[in-house]
């Protein structure tokens, strides 16, 4: 079924008006029946789940039996003041999101509802790392939706970032409740690699640029823990500002560690050290405003080689370090102790393969060796084994794909590496190979062979070759439109709808599309289908 603006029983205009303006009175009592309002054939409901999680859902009179259950992305678990811009201002909220882009662009929700689909989403009772709460809320919401719309036959779980983890988790633990899965820039895997990624970046940053920055070990007292996080964010922003100011000159922040100061005395530019930290963690060397190949007028030849990779890491590092701070602190709270451990990490091995590719920006092998020597001598972080053991339960997945699944992902992600998607791809390749082997074995007994259905399609937002714009001063223009395939989950309504369309069509036809049809559908919305495309796996898993 095509999701389009074509006339349906319900007009798009009517839905737009409803979704944008009608406020449904939500019951305040947990687990009460949802309050619903119907206008212009569209029914909107809102309620509060058993654990206090607000939810909402919408369907029209032409509801076709398929509902999209949305899981929103990560929201910080603490308020962040405006003084910490651009991270703040943020006020903690549990507001329900029934679909993608719900806070900025209602067109996805509207078009789906107009086409006869239902949409539903919870705000979850807890923010931060909330897999447990999200799983409970999603299961409950499916039941609630089905009670209100008993003709529901198909549930498509979709989510963004951390929400994609919730969608996958729902499919893994309750396959009976889910028929298809759409994961946008998924944000977790089962081997703690994402937490390690954040920890590596924070630790390298601390070890070179400001030893007072925290990697872990947050207080158990809520107020103190909150203040520590905010203080960390403040320090990170301050150091990033100083590194930004020293990009050309190579100047180091005055807060540099003794090791950092030693490197400074040897003439190693701070940008080379920053890039080394980014590379050892796996931070992308292309960012929203730095394509890595362009340079400003007068410096077009050397800028991409000498400066650009560090600038891109700097731009990506803000979100990486700040979300890393918030998520590690929250992880420690939930796990009951320190969760990041790098006592056995060989950072020199991590950057060995990258040293040549970014030789000028790293200031050559000798500088890289110097940086790695300083890091080797820096104090390491030791985790609490009991806490580490709890992490898979908090953010863990098996990655097993049993339902038709579409993933879409930016190649140069800002702070949730595309490596996660590579993990899904590699894991599914093994899973599918095993399924084929099992089918062959079965065929030897039964005499009949059925090729197992392939249940995974990955669509890439590949990073464009050139998109950087420069100011008259020769610095990247941060006000320019971000390049394709960069940033965090910067997917358009058209891309979300294309994924939804592919999924609904697949469920009707019993198999995911392949080949030219899929290639064309992806290309139409600026995505790429390339089954052989790979991105690096997590540094910690290499």
């Amino acid at each position: 079924m095509k999701i389009s603006l074509k006339s349906r029983i319900v007009s798009v205009l009517a839905v737009t008006a409803l979704a944008g303006t009608v406020v449904v009175g939500a019951p305040t009592a947990a687990n009460a029946a949802p309050q619903c309002a119907t206008a212009s054939y569209v029914t909107q409901c809102a309620g509060v789940g058993a654990d206090g999680a607000p939810y909402s859902f919408i369907a029209a009179a032409n509801f076709n039996g398929t509902v999209f259950l949305y899981s929103h992305g990560v929201r910080p678990p603490i308020d962040i003041p405006a003084t910490l811009a651009p991270v703040g201002p943020y006020t903690k909220t549990n507001a329900a999101e029934p679909g993608p882009l719900a806070t900025s662009d209602l067109s996805v929700i509207n078009k789906l509802v107009a086409a006869g689909y239902g949409v539903a989403g919870s705000g979850f009772s807890r923010q931060g790392i909330n897999a447990t709460e999200a799983l409970a809320a999603n299961k409950e919401l499916i039941a609630t939706f089905k009670t209100k719309f008993p003709t529901t036959k198909t549930v498509i779980a979709w989510g963004v970032s951390l929400g994609a983890m919730h969608s996958q988790k729902l499919a893994e633990t309750n396959p009976d409740l889910v028929d298809g899965v759409i994961l946008a820039c998924p944000g977790a895997n089962p081997q703690d690699a994402l937490m390690t990624y954040f920890g590596d970046a924070l630790w390298g940053f601390k070890a070179l640029f400001d030893p007072s920055i925290m990697v872990g070990g947050y207080s158990t007292d809520p107020d103190t823990r909150r203040d520590q996080q905010l203080d960390n964010v403040k320090k990170i922003l301050t150091v990033l500002g100083k590194l930004s100011a020293g990009l050309s000159s190579g100047a180091w922040p005055d807060t540099a560690s003794p090791g950092g100061k030693l490197l400074q005395s040897k003439g190693v530019p701070s940008r080379s050290a920053l890039l080394a930290v980014g590379l050892m963690a796996g931070v992308s060397t292309r960012s929203k405003h730095v394509d890595g190949t362009s340079g400003p007028t007068g410096n077009a030849e050397t800028y991409p080689l000498a400066i650009a990779p560090a600038v891109a890491v700097l731009e990506n590092m803000g979100a990486t370090l700040n979300y890393g701070t918030l998520l590690i602190a929250d992880g420690e709270l939930l796990a009951g102790g320190k969760v990041f451990d790098n006592t056995k990490t060989d950072y020199a091995a991590r950057v060995a393969a990258d040293a040549d590719l970014f030789s000028f920006a790293l200031s050559g092998n000798t500088a890289v060796t110097g940086i790695m020597d300083v890091l080797a001598a820096a104090p390491r972080e030791t985790a609490d084994p009991a806490a580490v053991a709890k992490i898979p339960g908090l953010v863990g997945l098996t990655g097993k794909i049993t339902k038709p699944t579409i993933i879409f992902q930016a190649e140069s992600e800002e702070f949730v590496p595309a490596s996660i998607v590579q993990w899904y791809i590699d894991g599914y390749a093994e899973q599918y190979a095993a399924a084929k082997m099992a089918a062959l074995k079965a065929a030897q007994k039964s005499g009949s062979y059925a090729l197992p259905a392939s249940n995974l399609v990955v669509l890439w937002a590949k990073t464009a070759a050139k998109y950087s714009k420069f100011t008259a001063a020769g610095t990247p223009d941060l006000t320019a439109t971000p390049g394709a395939g960069t940033g965090h989950c910067l997917f358009t309504a058209a891309q979300w709808l294309a994924a939804a369309d592919l999924m609904t069509t697949s469920l009707q036809q019993g198999k995911l599309p392949r080949g030219a049809k899929l290639t064309l559908a992806a290309r139409k919305v600026g995505l790429t289908y390339d089954s052989k495309f790979r991105v690096p796996v997590f540094k910690s898993l290499q």
Binding site: T293, E301, P304, F360, G364, A450, A465, K532, R534
Partner: protein
């Protein structure tokens, strides 16, 4: 769902088994376009190259794709290879590894080339090989223009073939020469501080040569004015009597020009990559005479050696393509030699050309290919090594490198601990019509 029954499975297995047994006996079949690898039809072969046409490494190197194209065009006028005419798609990567990745992706996915040829630079070639998953896709990467020894490792780079002797080989041969000619002199080494230089350091170490002064520089930093001045200052302080420069030609330019400006004299020994007069002249023709008296290394005949059959033919082809407006130099010889070897490989792969067949042909027959090089080729089923040695010469005031002793004395070795020995290699004669 594809359903087949058990009987069909058994039948299929039997057919496959018979096919495996009889494949050698089956006569060559007609080319089937629907079964072909990308970039190939019954009458064409599309190849791709990404290299620096602009940017810091463009001077000199930008001539390589044009030289390759001139040779391919010449081959096409002779009917092509096994009836197929060759087209070369050339992309500019500015010597930036990330750009090289993007361009290689364009060549493979958009232009759908049959193979990559002559990609240039260690970092760029490593980056594009890894990022585009050449080996996983089975895309041949023929005769990469870098001497990093790692590319000869078939296990790590199963579809990539070197063409240049490795930097380790060069350093070992250079070390033997220096030990013999400059005993007791104060030695200095300026080297590119990446895999290029790391290979050289490994070769010098293997050969037991140590320097009094080591000056590393980050690749690309030679473009900054202060870099060359800094080297000369260090060389002066160290009193370097013999200075080896293991870097690209733009680094040689920076070193020679700054030495001249500072009135500093040393015996320059230039690695093969950095001793290109045309590249140096691209910065300023005034710098070319500064090469005079410097020692240099090469594995191909000198571009000025018109007594050499290959050079003579290449000059003829190049002049026919571009007239006399462009200098016939080392870069042209490099490009045409590269294209020449590609043609030998395509010929060896036969009419039923496939990517796998091409790789297999180089592995099994590559060491016997005709080539302009004065050293043996090291291709085998175990290693993807290209040329394996060097001759030593002296630069004259025009930048021409002529062999010491008036003839090419070629030394050969390996990238390991093998000895440096004088080569007895007899180069195959230029094939008829230069094909």
């Amino acid at each position: 769902m594809i359903r087949i029954n058990r009987r069909k499975l058994i039948t299929t297995s039997a057919v496959l088994a018979i096919a495996a047994l009889t494949v050698a006996a089956v006569p060559a079949q007609a080319f089937n376009p629907s079964m072909a690898d990308p970039g190939i039809t019954g009458s064409t072969i599309k190849l791709g190259i990404t290299s620096p046409l602009t940017g810091i490494a463009a001077p000199g190197y930008s001539k390589i794709p044009g030289a390759m194209k001139a040779y391919f065009d010449y081959v096409n006028t002779k009917g092509g290879v096994n009836g197929r005419k060759i087209t070369l798609v050339s992309k500019d990567d500015q010597y930036i590894p990330t750009t090289a990745v993007a361009k290689a992706n364009e060549l493979i996915l958009r232009d759908r080339v049959f193979a990559l040829v002559g990609t240039l630079g260690t970092a760029s070639t490593k980056a594009l090989t890894a990022s585009t998953q050449l080996s996983k896709r089975g895309v041949p990467s023929l005769f990469v223009n870098t001497g990093w020894s790692g590319f000869a490792d078939k296990k790590a780079y199963p579809t990539t073939f070197s063409i240049l002797p490795s930097y380790q080989m060069e350093a070992k041969i250079m070390a033997k020469f220096i030990k013999k000619e400059y005993t007791g002199k104060k030695l200095a080494l300026i080297y590119q501080d990446d895999d290029f230089g790391r290979d050289a350091l490994a070769g010098f170490k293997t050969a037991g040569l140590t320097f009094d002064t080591y000056i590393p520089y980050a690749s690309g930093s030679q473009a900054l004015p202060a870099t060359g001045a800094g080297w000369i200052s260090k060389l002066k302080t160290a009193g370097a009597e013999v200075t080896v420069l293991f870097g690209v030609s733009s680094a040689s330019t920076a070193a020679l020009a700054n030495a001249y400006g500072a009135g500093f004299k040393t015996q320059w020994v230039l690695g093969s990559v950095g001793g290109d007069a045309t590249t140096i002249a691209a910065t300023s023709k005034n710098y070319v005479p500064l090469l005079n008296g410097a020692k240099g290394f090469s594995f191909a005949p000198a571009p000025t050696d018109t007594t050499d059959d290959y050079i003579k033919k290449f000059q003829e082809i190049y002049t026919a393509a571009y007239g006399t407006t462009q200098t016939f130099d080392n870069n042209v010889v490099a490009g045409m030699s590269n294209a020449f070897l590609v043609v030998q490989a395509l010929k060896a792969a036969g009419k039923n050309l496939t990517r796998k067949g091409l790789i297999s042909a180089i592995e099994t027959k590559g060491s016997t290919f005709a080539s302009p090089f004065l050293t043996p080729l090291g291709y085998s089923a175990k290693a993807h090594t290209g040329a394996t040695g060097y001759w030593i010469g002296t630069y004259g005031p025009t930048g021409a490198l002529t062999p010491d002793g008036g003839k090419y004395t070629v030394y050969t070795t390996d990238s390991g601990t093998g000895p440096v020995v004088e080569s007895t290699y007899k180069r195959p004669a230029m094939p008829e019509n230069g094909l």
